[in-house]
Symmetry: C3
Subunit: 211 residues, 3 copies
């Protein structure tokens, strides 16, 4: 089981690296810029988590396998950049897997450091989604997570689910698998059915009666 | 007195949450995006301070009351978004209170970690004003603090005032209140009278004699 | 020798401060904004390095001389902003010296914390080049390092060279000087001959046969 989760984790890193690379190529960055954007997209969320918690060195400085996976993901994205537009669904699947796994990994690490439930869910959300935030800031865009696809909302729900299952004493494998699958499925449904949170409109000139 | 300061602190967090929410709504972010922007505006400065200092966990991971105040501030801003344009002065008052309190809190925490005066003032300025910097970067704008209202200048003056009063052995309540009030008053005067530092113009094509 | 390296280090900080100030003046920031941009450009890379490593306080909170050099560099840039367009080559020389020295300093600090070669090179690259990344993000632009002048590539090569020389047991002075000079020379040659990594073009509409 440990190995299955590890495979998903590597697939998530790989997928985030591809997502970062594609953004970088759209922005016409040079190959090194592509690698850096792949890197920050993959490790950004976990790095911020580690910087927020006292006594944590950024995980990728110690677990080097992530770096190799990122390099592989970047090369893959460069080589198959033509085909990747047809693979959008596959990428989104991997990206959702990464989102789910990273979120739950973040919640678990926060729990091990003794934080409260609320802090754990926030650290999980940061782990899962802030890599994409840094990617978008580096690419000089308003982070997509703030704008659509209820990206962060899904991670919060997954984090809450994880804490509930863990408290109820479920088997550890189920405790991990169910919220990860839940995040993946919800995210895919959200993209497929274009779910989004309602927009809140502010317009000082608009007619108050019409809202 | 402790409670008075705590009230101001909570009011500051509340005000920064409103300020972040209003920016988010102007950028048409979804409700979760609004909450995140409120969050980073409120806790961003203190978080960077805590990450710069060895052996500090980000304060809001431990003191959860800040999170609840931020959620309340965000809901308040969403509900009263129509009215808040009339409340601009009130918001600015709260925002200035937050700026003053956060700055002094940052200076005090830095002092407790044994840093030099210069480092304390810098950490105070970061605590007071970098929440707004992150807010503006997330909203894809050049941070307003760099451009007008002598925002950061006021915090530096407040920090210096705090260190001087502390060294002169004033009563602890006065040592805290005077610089906070000074920052609030200076900031309000700066906005009211449109004070700003002189712009330094660089234009390689312009006539050197005319400058 | 220690003093020579220290002079280069100070020159690097000075040059990065000038580089940040010039960017800030182009963006019409106010004097305090100029100082902050000079500050983050100079210390940004080393600060991120220190935040990534457990048990490191940001270096400039302890070694105050960097702050004074930054203030001096900012004042210099403001006073001589007219002349600095003629001094572009001089600035680039200092900037490259800073890049080289900061990179090697970053690699060395990482080694002392017991990280692997790959992590050391990454931390070196971050130390040398992420000050410029933060400068560009604050100025609301896509970081220049991602786009041209093989900035980051040169630091990676310098870092590898440093590790190789160190392993081969060369004299400590040579181990430090050779990679620093190598980064400086390569960077200057890259700017002079307009070296850059090949762009990878992604255009979903373009004819696949033509690529």
């Amino acid at each position: 089981m440990e190995t299955l989760l590890q495979y998903i984790n590597i697939a998530g890193t790989f997928a985030f690296a591809i997502s970062g690379s594609l953004t970088a190529m759209k922005k016409k960055l040079d190959p090194f810029g592509i690698l850096i954007l792949a890197f920050v997209t993959s490790v950004g969320g976990g790095t911020i988590r580690d910087m927020l918690i006292e006594k944590r060195t950024a995980f990728w400085l110690v677990e080097l396998e992530y770096l190799y996976v990122i390099v592989a993901g970047t090369i893959f994205a460069i080589l198959f950049r033509k085909k990747l537009s047809y693979l959008r669904k596959t990428i989104m699947l991997f990206d959702s897997a990464g989102l789910g796994l990273f979120t739950i990994a973040g919640v678990e690490i926060a729990l091990q450091h003794g934080f409260s439930s609320v802090s754990c869910i926030i650290l999980g959300t940061i782990t899962g989604s802030f890599g994409g935030v840094i990617r978008d800031i580096f690419a000089n865009e308003v982070p997509v997570i703030f704008r659509k696809e209820i990206y962060a909302t899904v991670t919060v729900l997954g984090g809450i689910c994880y804490l509930l299952l863990r408290k109820m004493g479920f088997d550890f494998i189920l405790v991990q698998l169910i919220p990860v699958l839940m995040i993946i499925v919800l995210r895919i449904l959200a993209v497929y059915y274009k779910w989004s949170l309602p927009l809140i409109i502010v317009n000082e000139n608009e007619d108050p009666e019409r809202l």
